[in-house]
Amino acid sequence: MIIKGRIIKEGKVEGEAIVSSEPIGFFGGIEPDTGVVIEKGHTLEGKSIRGKILVFPTGKGSTVGSYILYRLKKNNVAPIGIINEECEPIVAVGAIISDIPCVDKIKINKIKTGDKIKIEGENVIIE
């Protein structure tokens, strides 16, 4: 299945999806040295986003979150791609400065954790 979205950061990447049904705040929500979700009570609490294509509705929280994405990338624990329903500035800026392909305007309920997916420009391909 191919779903067409909107490019936030252009790129081509292939990997396993990890899906959060709720928004993600990177600052205080994800441990920057390990890529593990640490927000108490979050649906992904305790899970690592390292090397995955991270799928979530939208970002939330402090604008410092853009730098947390950048730190994750420098520590080699960042997601390899990001898919949002509605991208907001924190995630958009974070993805661009960290060179992480990012697409939004995607109905994320079509994707499940563990799915093999590809991001190719504006297209999300679910195998």
Partner: protein, 397 residues
């Protein structure tokens, strides 16, 4: 979104990687907010300068962008850093922090920005014109530029402001558009608003109610630039107000109806709630901070008059820009003779104040009083300049 041919080329990397990254950010934000096009800008204020907020990742990010050829193309000023860039050692800042902070400044210098750090760029020559499109971060400066000057900016973040400075453009949405500048709330102020701190208390009340909406304020009889500076700073701290209008005072409200037909009306009878929100019940004061936003020459003059020939009991910090410091040298001398400190380039909100071991702060700034408990773990007393200086002299509130 419409891009000119030149903008398309910049986005494709024809002007280098530094510009490409900047255009990617500007265009992405334009898409997110459904902007029709980009607008050219001539003035940028960049926040995210203190190492306390940037951390090591922030340094890496700035250095990388500078290495990729990111250079500013318009007039750009920096927000306060985490310390006085020249006198940090004498003022007691830690060497470890200072080294990192100076690395941040080096990266900005490489991008072509002169290292003058202030939250009041409009006092040091970065003064946009009425109606001009600009891209500023620093919530209090954004509020001042939009409201008091009548320039047009959204509340930019650090990276998006830098992107605007490098590309010379920002996306045309939000406060760049006429209809978004109309007030959605009207505040009729019946309370007396006289002192500097009254404006801070009023700002606290309005910010909490308005959140990110545009307020229109009536009933302010007497105001000057310093008062409006603190009013805006306080509203932008307790809420996210980026633009306000004051009846017969601010430029857009002088000649136009700036109130939406659907606007809700709210009456403010007293400032007590604002003062209560910002005050704890401590009486011993070991630290007094003035200059948030950065003190003007007039404020330094007033403080000098209060402390002249007296010795202080509590630590007194007055934060300002190097430029204002130079212009107010005679007053600085008087303050320093009383053992008060005048710090350039930094402020209470972004300095590593917790390293100094202060416990109880007195300030006349609604913004500093709002942030100090969470950012710097201080108990706060908030009141007039006279009360604050008196606390500095006696050690008591």
């Amino acid at each position: 979104m419409f891009l000119t041919r030149e903008e398309e080329k910049m986005l494709d990397g024809e002007s280098g990687e530094g510009v490409q990254r900047a255009m990617e950010i500007v265009v992405a934000l334009g898409k997110i907010y459904n902007a029709e096009n980009l607008v050219e800008i001539n003035s940028v204020q960049v926040a995210g300068v203190s190492y306390k907020n940037l951390g090591d990742a922030g340094i890496q990010f700035l250095e990388e962008w500078a290495d990729k050829g990111g250079r500013v193309s318009v007039k750009t000023t920096l927000n306060p850093a985490g310390m006085d860039l020249e006198n940090w050692k004498r003022l007691g800042f830690k060497e470890e922090f200072a080294k990192k902070q100076l690395k941040v400044i080096e990266a900005f210098k490489k991008m072509g920005i002169s290292p003058v750090c202030t939250c009041t760029p409009y006092l040091i020559g970065n003064l946009p014109k009425f109606g001009e499109h600009i891209a500023w971060s620093e919530s209090s400066a954004v509020s001042f530029a939009n409201s008091v000057i009548g320039a047009r900016t959204n509340r930019e973040g650090g990276p998006s402001a830098l992107a605007a400075a490098i590309s010379g453009r920002t996306a045309n949405y939000g406060f760049h558009l006429n209809e978004k500048r109309m007030a959605e709330l009207v505040f009729n102020v019946n309370a007396k608003v006289n002192d500097f701190s009254d404006f801070g208390a009023l700002g606290n009340i309005i910010g909490r109610i308005a959140k990110n909406k545009v307020p229109y304020i009536t009933g302010i009889k007497d105001s000057n630039q310093d008062n409006l500076k603190v009013l805006g700073a306080s509203m932008a701290a307790s809420g996210a107000v980026a633009l306000y209008h004051i009846d017969k005072v601010t430029p857009e409200a002088k000649n136009n109806n700036m109130i939406k037909d659907s606007a809700e009306r709210i009456v403010i009878e007293s400032l007590e709630e604002g003062y209560n929100n910002l005050n704890s019940d401590v009486n011993e004061i070991d630290f007094v901070s003035i200059g948030c936003p950065h003190a003007s020459v007039e404020e330094l003059k007033k403080i000098a008059e209060h402390v002249k020939g007296k010795k202080l009991k509590a630590e007194l910090w007055i934060t300002t820009s190097k430029y204002v410091h130079e212009k107010a040298k005679e007053y600085v001398k008087i303050i320093e003779e009383s053992e008060g400190k005048v710090l350039n380039d930094t402020c209470l909100v972004v300095a590593p104040v917790e390293d100094f071991g202060f416990k109880n702060l007195a300030t006349n700034s609604g913004k500093a009083a709002f942030y100090a408990p969470s950012h710097s773990k201080l108990n706060v007393r908030f009141g007039t300049l006279e009360k604050c200086i008196n606390a500095a002299l006696t050690g008591r509130w």
